[in-house]
C-alpha cells in the first residue's frame, strides 16, 4: 500500500469541498457568518485575515472539530456533516495543526501511526509501520528515520513528521493552519515545495497564514475574512501583499480613541539597546520618550512580549544597555523593575495577571504588598480603601465586594489589572494587549486611561496585535517581525496597510531602507 497516494480528483473537475453560507455562533455570539467558498482539486486556496477574523473557526468547521450553526458543507456536491474530526479524516480531509502535536518520547513511526496502529492478531506490526512511515516521509521528501525519537528532531523536521502523519490514509483536501508559524525563514521554502508537490498531485489545499509574502508566492486564490465575515475571494494573480493587507483591515475608524494630544516629548524615559532574548528577540533597540505612547506592532510570535519578559528578568536575555530615565538599570525580577518605576501589564490576564479564585482586594494589592502594608501585618482596612479608590478611578463594575476576580467580565478584569499595576506608581508602563477579548465600551475607557496616564507625565509602551488600536492610540509605532524591528511608523505613515506590510513581509524592510536612502 502506498499510503501517500492521493485519491483521484472528482471527475467533473468541480470543487471537492464547498462551504455554503457557513456560520458559527457560541452561546449567542456570532464568530463567523455567511462564509461561502469552494476548494478545487489541484488548487492552493489561501485564507487570510487579522487575529480574530474567524480563520481558525472556519478551519475547525471544515475539519470536523466544530459543527456549523448555519449553512452547510458540500463534498463532491452532496451535503455532508462531519460529526467528529476522525469522520472528516475518513472522507479525506487532513488537517495539519499549527502547533506541533506529537509525543516527544515516541519514535517517528509510532507518532505517525498513533491511534491507527497496524496490528496482526492483536500484536503490533512494528516493521509494517516503520516501512509505511518511511514511504510516507519519502513522499514528502523528508529523510528522517522512522526510528528516530521525535524529541530529538528539529522543529522543521517535527513539522514534516506532522504533515506525514496528516497525509496518512486518504487525503483529498489538506488544510494547513499557519504551518510556517513555527519555522525559521530558511525552513519555509522546503515546506512550500512540499505543498506545491501535493497540489501537482491534484490535492486541494487550504492554506491559512499570517505571512502575506508566502501567500503571494503560493496561492492560486485568496479568501479574505474580516470580523467573522467574508470580504471576498480573489484570484491571487496580481494581488500584492499591500492589497491583501488593506482588504484584511479596510474599515473606518470609529471614535473609539481619545483625540490625540500633541505630545510634548521630553527626555528619554526608557532606552533599550541591543536586546537579545534567545529564540525570540534578535538585537532590538528602542527609545521611549517621556510623555509618549509608543506602539509595538507585529504578529503573535514576533518577540514583542518576550522582549519585555526578558527586560523584567522573567526569561533569559541579554542587553547592551538599558536606561530608565537616564540611569542604567538591570532587573532580575519584576519586583526590582516595579521599585525602579517600570510596570508591566501582562497580555495573559487570566494566566499571569490575576488570581481568578481570589477576592478583588488581595488581587489589587498583590504586586504592591510592601507599599500597601508597610508592616508584615496586613492592613485590611487600608486595603479595602485602596479597592474603593480603584473601583472609583477605573470604573470597575462589580456585583459585590466579595466577588472573585474570575467572576468579573473581561473588561473589568483588565481594569482591575491596570489598577493593580498602577498601585506601584510606575513612571514607565508597558501594556501588553490592553484590550484583548473585551467589549467596545471597556476598550474605549482603557484607551482613555492610557492617555490620562501619559498626560500625568508617565510614558507608555502599548504592545498590540490590533493594528487599529495602535494607530488610534499611539504617537509612534515600531513594527516587529521575527524578533527584529522591521519598521518604524509615525504621523500619516501609521496606516494599517503599512503596519501589516512591515509585520508580515520581509521585503518591506529593504524597501523602506531604500526609500529612506533616496528620500
Amino acid at each position: 500500500m502506498n499510503a501517500a497516494q492521493a485519491h483521484v480528483p472528482a471527475p467533473d473537475g468541480g470543487p471537492v469541498l464547498r462551504a455554503e453560507r457557513l456560520g458559527k455562533a457560541f452561546g449567542g455570539v456570532t464568530v463567523l457568518s455567511e462564509v461561502t467558498l469552494d476548494i478545487r482539486p489541484g488548487e492552493i486556496h489561501a485564507i487570510i485575515g487579522e487575529n480574530g477574523a474567524g480563520k481558525s473557526t472556519l478551519m475547525r468547521l471544515l475539519s470536523g472539530y466544530l459543527q456549523p450553526s448555519d449553512g452547510e458543507l458540500l463534498m463532491d456536491g452532496a451535503p455532508i456533516r462531519f460529526h467528529t474530526p476522525s469522520h472528516a479524516q475518513s472522507v479525506g480531509i487532513a488537517l495539519v495543526h499549527q502547533e506541533i502535536l506529537l509525543a516527544e518520547a515516541l519514535t517517528v513511526a509510532e507518532n505517525i501511526f498513533i491511534g491507527r496502529e497496524i496490528a496482526r492478531f492483536g500484536r503490533l506490526d512494528e516493521r509494517a509501520m516503520r516501512e509505511a512511515a518511511a514511504a510516507q516521509l519519502a513522499a514528502i521528501g523528508c529523510s528522517v528515520s522512522p526510528r528516530a525519537r521525535v524529541g530529538d528532531l528539529s522543529i522543521a523536521n517535527r513539522q514534516l513528521v506532522q504533515i506525514a502523519k496528516a497525509l496518512l490514509g486518504t487525503h483529498r483536501v489538506v488544510i494547513f493552519d499557519e504551518p510556517t508559524a513555527v519555522l525559521t525563514h530558511e525552513e519555509v521554502d522546503p515546506l512550500l515545495d512540499i505543498i506545491r508537490a501535493l497540489k501537482q498531485r491534484g490535492v486541494a489545499i487550504l492554506y491559512i497564514s499570517h505571512r502575506l509574502d508566502e501567500v503571494e508566492r503560493l496561492a492560486d486564490r485568496v479568501t479574505v475574512l474580516r470580523d467573522g465575515r467574508m470580504v471576498g475571494t480573489y484570484e491571487a494573480e496580481g494581488l500584492t501583499p499591500q492589497r491583501m493587507a488593506s482588504l484584511m483591515v479596510g474599515r473606518e475608524f470609529a471614535s473609539l480613541y481619545p483625540p490625540k494630544l500633541e505630545p510634548e516629548l521630553g527626555e528619554p524615559a526608557l532606552e533599550i539597546a541591543h536586546a537579545h532574548v534567545p529564540g525570540f528577540v534578535n538585537d532590538v533597540s528602542l527609545t521611549l520618550r517621556k510623555g509618549e505612547i509608543l506602539g509595538l506592532a507585529g504578529m503573535i510570535g514576533a518577540g514583542r512580549t518576550e522582549l519585555f519578559e526578558g527586560l523584567l528578568g522573567l526569561r533569559p536575555a541579554s542587553f547592551g544597555e538599558v536606561r530608565l530615565h537616564g540611569r542604567p538599570v538591570h532587573f532580575r525580577s519584576p519586583a526590582e523593575a516595579a521599585r525602579a518605576g517600570l510596570g508591566y501589564l501582562t497580555e495573559d490576564r487570566k494566566g499571569k495577571g490575576l488570581l481568578l479564585g481570589e477576592r478583588l482586594a488581595p488581587n489589587l494589592t498583590l504586586a504592591a504588598l510592601d507599599r500597601v502594608h508597610p508592616f508584615a501585618r496586613l492592613d485590611l482596612a487600608g486595603e479595602a480603601q485602596q479597592l474603593d479608590r480603584a473601583v472609583r478611578s477605573y470604573d470597575i463594575r462589580l456585583r459585590s465586594r466579595d466577588a472573585r476576580a474570575g467572576q468579573l467580565s473581561g473588561g473589568n478584569q483588565q481594569k482591575l489589572l491596570l489598577a493593580k499595576v498602577m498601585l506601584n506608581d510606575p513612571t514607565v508602563l508597558v501594556i501588553d494587549e490592553p484590550t484583548r477579548g473585551i467589549d467596545i465600551a471597556n476598550k474605549s475607557q482603557i484607551y482613555a486611561f492610557i492617555q490620562s496616564l501619559v498626560r500625568e507625565g508617565r510614558s507608555c509602551i502599548v504592545i498590540s496585535s490590533e493594528m487599529q488600536e495602535l494607530i488610534g492610540l499611539c504617537d509612534r509605532i515600531l513594527v516587529m517581525r521575527s524578533g527584529r524591528i522591521n519598521g518604524e511608523l509615525s504621523g500619516d505613515a501609521m496606516s494599517e496597510s503599512n503596519v501589516a506590510l512591515y509585520a508580515t513581509s520581509s521585503v518591506a524592510r529593504e524597501r523602506a531602507l531604500e526609500e529612506n536612502a533616496h528620500g
Partner: protein
Amino acid sequence: MADVAAAPPRAQHNWSIGWGDAGPFLALAALVAIGYLINPDFLSANNIANVVTRSAFIAIIAIGATFVISSGGLDLSVGSMAAFITGVMILFMNTVAPSVGTAAIPLGMAVALVTGIACGLLNGTIVTVGRIEPFIATLGTMGIFRALITYMTDGGTVAIDRSLRDAYRPVYFGDVLGVPIPILVSLAVALVAAYVLYRTRYGRRCVAVGANEDVARYSGISVTRIRITAYVIQGACVAIAAICYVPRLGAATPTTGLLWELQVITAVVIGGTALRGGRGRVWGTVAGAVILEFIANLMVLSDFVSEYLVAAVQGVIIIIAMLIQRMSKR
C-alpha cells in the same frame, strides 16, 4: 425558590462560603454526637482530653503542612523527619546531660528546633533551587531521614537518659489549669499560624504562589523564597511536635512517626485546604487532625469495626474529602 433567587447576591455568596468553610467543624460536631450515642463515655472530659492530646502531634505537623500545601508544595518526609529530629535531640541530651544536668532539656529543644529548620531548608532548597517535583524531592528526603534514624539507633532504640526522664515528663503529661500541655502547645501554634497565614504579607504571598505561580512571579513575588519559607515552617512545626512527643515515647526508634505523612495530609485535606494549593485553612487542619483521632478512638470504644481497620477508615476519609472538594468547586 423565588425567595432565594430574589435575595441579594451578596448574602447568598456569604452563606455558601460559610458553609464550605464550616464543613470540617460540622463533621467534627457530627462525629462527637455519634460518639456520644454509641458510647456515652466518649464525651467524658477525660476521654476528650486524651483524644485531643493524642491528636496534638499530627495537628502541629499538619499546621506546618498547611503552609507547604497551600503554597502548592507537598512534604512526604514529615514522619521520617519527626523520627530523625527525635533521635538527634535524645542523643544530644544524653550526651550533655552528665555535664549540664536538666539544662540538657532546653538545650535539646533548641537543637531539635534548629534540626527541624535545617531539614525544612533542605527540602525547600531541593524543591525550588533544584526544581524537583515536591513529591519526588520529599520522597527522597523521607528515605534519607528514615535511614539516618535507623543508623543512629543502630536499628534499635535510643532511650532518653534516666536522669532527664522525670524532668521532661510534664511536657507531655503535665497540664495548666487542667488543660494538657500538648493541647496548649498546638493551640498556640495554630494561633500563630492562623495569624501568619491570614494576616501577614507572607501568608498572602504563600497562598498566591499556590494559587498561580505565574501570577505571583509577574506580581514581583519571589516564588523561591516563599516556597522555601513554607518548608522551613513545616520543619519547625515537626520539631515542636517532636519536642512534645519525646516524653510519651521515651525513645527514638526506626519506626517512630511511621506513616504520619499520610495522617498529616489527610488532616490538611479534611480541613479544607486545597491540595493543589491556593487555599489554606489552619483551624480546619486542626479540626481534621482531631477528627482523625476521634475516629480511631470511636473504633476502639465501639465494637462495630475492628480497630485494625483504623488506617483503612482514614484512607476512605481522605478520598471522600477530596471528592467533596472536587464537587464543591463546580
